[in-house]
Symmetry: C2
Subunit: 122 residues, 2 copies
């Protein structure tokens, strides 16, 4: 039973906006070679969440963790994402979907941001 | 000469959205007690960037580092923020403003996000 990780990003018009998101996905692929990782977006960028989810399921994932790559929990994470996830559950009812909190709420991420913000400060 | 740190966030309708941002500011205040830290927002939330900047300058900061708390560099960081910063430079010409890249581009933040996304995965 293959495990999937679906990283959910907002999307933006600037292609380079997604660079850190792609870097995160690349690092996870190296650290967890058996994990099937996809990046899916809410808007503007492709693939959208459903297309990314379909790819994971199509490659045999039966457990998928969904991680919102958002700093805080606003409308996109609190309202939009549960609706999208409900559609995924209906579309792929045999797959186990695990929804995680916004990544920015993770204590280690808060700590890394606090430390990076003061990088090289006296 | 007091040093300031101005954390720039997007803002959202959900008050709880800003919790991680406030946690970042709180951690920095503990780690760097001599640094004067303010959080300013682009929209919806208060204070806005200018009000937060005025507070730092009013308390005597003559060097202020501006850190965008955004995961990627989209229009808000690439276009909106430089305009806001230009206004701050005009408004407070004796203050030295240092603009940093989006925090999500920092290697340590990318690493923390990648690690947190896989938290407790097998």
């Amino acid at each position: 039973m293959s495990q999937g990780l679906l990283l959910f990003g907002h999307g933006a018009r600037d292609a380079a906006w997604a660079d850190p998101f792609r870097a995160v996905a690349a690092q996870i692929r190296v650290a967890h070679p058996s994990l099937d990782v996809e990046l899916g977006f809410l808007e503007i960028m492709t693939p959208d969440l459903q297309t990314a989810a379909d790819a994971l399921v199509g490659r045999g994932c039966r457990q998928v963790r969904v991680v919102p790559l958002f700093l805080g929990t606003g409308g996109h994470v609190r309202r939009d994402l549960p609706i999208l996830l409900e559609r995924l559950r209906t579309r792929h009812p045999t797959v186990q979907w695990e929804l995680r909190p916004a990544i920015g709420e993770h204590p280690a991420v808060i700590e890394a941001i606090a430390s990076a913000a003061c990088d090289a400060l006296g």
